[in-house]
Amino acid sequence: MKILLLGMNHRTAPVEIRERFAADPLGTMLQKLVDRPEIEEGALISTCNRVEVVVTTENPDAARHSLYDFFSRDLGAGRGPGAGELAELTYLRQGRQAVEHVFRVASAIDSMVVGEPQILGQVKDAYREAVDAGACGPVLSRLFQRAFATAKRVKNETGIAQRPVSVARVAVDLAKQIFERLDDKRALLVGAGEMIEAALSALRDHGLGECRVANRTVERAEVLANRFGGTAHGLAELDVLLPESDVVLICVGGDEPILTRERVESSLEGRRGRPLFLIDIGVPRNIDPDVHEIVDAYLYDLDDLQEVAAANQQERRRESQRAEEIVYEEREQFAGWLVALQAVPTIRDLRERAETIRAGEVDRFAGRLDLDATQADTLEQLTRSIVNKLMHDPISQLRDETDREAGLVRLEEARVLFGLDERRGFTADEDPEESDA
């Protein structure tokens, strides 16, 4: 049995191509996948950054062609590029590489933003859909369970997901380094654009208390304020709002800074050293850079936040090397399990073959010896015991060796040595010596 994976992601195909292959509805697509005769089990991972099909098969060559066909005919529904072009936009992984790829995806090592938390949930959803559609059998179930365990290990044992890498999350973490808690803090938002909204949303997700929105046009401020349960104000009210605020987010147009050093200094009077965190995401900047020199004011502009985010991204990449080691370990364990799983039919065939020979030979000689019931029973026990003893070591070897890398080779050798494949029609009436000759 072989595991195959065919996929395209943000590195191999642009979004306008990827979106044509988005699996929708997933259940129907899974059904079409496993209805193909060469596919035994299947699962589909479809996110905004990747579309991947993972299957198990006994016939890898046929399954490979079938996967390309599934991609272009079913997933792409004829809208995507042709088969030749598809090969350049996708990647095919087989065996251990496929296992490793699934583990890397679930652990967010393969993500656009290394360590991002969403992908694990998306892989879990993909697994659930495959189970619901009846497309997931024991091998893929095990593969996904191990992928989740690997992702958990990577998260717990490395720092891959610990440092924030988006500007909004960096701002939140900085706020948490300044303030003990955010739910009793007041935020002042100057401007009502998308950047402000993203930063406010992140701060709100982390429990930011009250928010007030000040904008040139109060109507626009009201829209944002209503969405986040805040109050709307005009820019003329800034001098009243500023002294009462703990976090200031600013992004408005204009060439001159709106918040000068003097203005901020005067707003800090009477605060008894309560810190003020200012985030300037305007370009050109809306806050005089000298404000950062005020002892209790901490000013970060867009470049500063991006610099911290980039440094964190770098750190995550460093941590991903440790994560790769974990993935390698888990991959080897899974490969061992797969080999062990494949040993079961070989051991069964071996036992069946030995028993067929034994029973045949007993039948052949029992007639000549004219044995009574007790003697026949003794002969039966004697031969059974000899066969069991002879088979014990080879079977133990197969079972014990299967967790090694050479396990698959050993299984293949056993099948050849004992003629398990060629001699499926062998009967006790045939003399093995003669047929070999």
């Binding site: 717990n156 720092g159 440092r163 924030p164 900085l174 380094q177 300044i178 003990e180 050293g273 970060y300």
Partner: protein, 262 residues
């Protein structure tokens, strides 16, 4: 006799190493374990104090090694009490290592015996306990001050260590500093007062002009100034942090210096 102390020292060491690992990895579970280790160390050290107290004759309360160990023990208790309400991940390793050093250090020398315990009055006990508690609280204030300055500097240089388990927030550190100063100064004052009463009971004077008394009186006056500035709102968080750190460094120099001289 020293079994409890060895165990307490081992627990403190484990808590310190666990705290460092918990911060560096970062691993919240390890850090939580380190906090439990610190608490367990404090309980075992209490048993060590109890076993020493039952000795005949008991070690002197004024023995410098044991007085410092008691101060560190009280600092552990104070830190754990604060950590109940405020997130203080960075506090466990330094407090645990100081507790380890003092606890282990106290076992390395032969303590003075019984000269104070046999004096038949509770004033020396009160003096040592109150002064140690005051020093412990002011030590925690100094540590909070040090962390505040480090974090403030990182934020001002725009090179913050943004990670899940970094130092406590500036606001939390400032709160710890304020609480520790508000608690530590009265305890220190009571320690000084009981010291004066003890001197009076022993030699019939309130002031003998010894090195210890002179420098301790100066330290008390300095702290009085810090408290007035801080609680009067004339000192911002950064100045308060620097003052707490400098004040505690001075206090340690006074206690250790006077101990060595005497």
């Amino acid at each position: 006799m020293y079994a409890f102390q060895y165990w307490a020292a081992a627990l403190y060491l484990a808590a310190g190493v666990g705290g460092v690992l918990g911060m560096a990895l970062p691993a919240p579970k390890v850090l939580r374990g380190a906090r439990w280790g610190l608490g367990l160390g404090a309980i075992v050290q209490l048993a060590a104090f109890a076993s020493l107290h039952r000795l005949e004759p008991a070690p002197s309360l004024t023995d410098l090694g044991y007085a410092v160990a008691m101060m560190a023990w009280l600092a552990v208790l104070f830190t754990l009490t604060l950590a109940w309400r405020i997130r203080l991940p960075g506090f466990v390793p330094p407090v645990a290592f100081v507790a380890f050093l003092t606890c282990f250090g106290a076992t390395l020398h032969r303590p003075e015996l019984a000269s104070v315990a046999d004096s038949g009055t509770t004033i020396p006990h009160a003096h040592v306990l109150l002064a140690s508690a005051g020093l412990a609280a002011l030590g925690v204030a100094g540590l909070a001050g040090l962390f505040f300055l480090l974090e403030h500097r990182a934020l001002k240089r725009r090179r913050p260590v943004v990670r899940r388990l970094s130092l406590p927030s500036l606001e939390a550190l400032d709160r710890v500093n304020r609480v520790a100063l508000a608690l530590g100064f009265p305890l220190l004052s009571l320690g000084v007062l009981t010291g004066v009463l003890w001197l009076d009971a022993r030699v019939g004077e309130w002031w003998s002009g010894s090195v210890h008394e002179t420098w301790m009186a100066l330290a008390w006056v300095i702290y009085l100034g810090l408290v007035v500035l801080r609680l009067g709102g004339r000192q911002g968080p950064r100045e308060a942090a620097a003052s707490a750190l400098a004040g505690f460094a001075f206090l340690v120099a006074v206690v250790a210096g006077a101990g060595v001289v005497s």
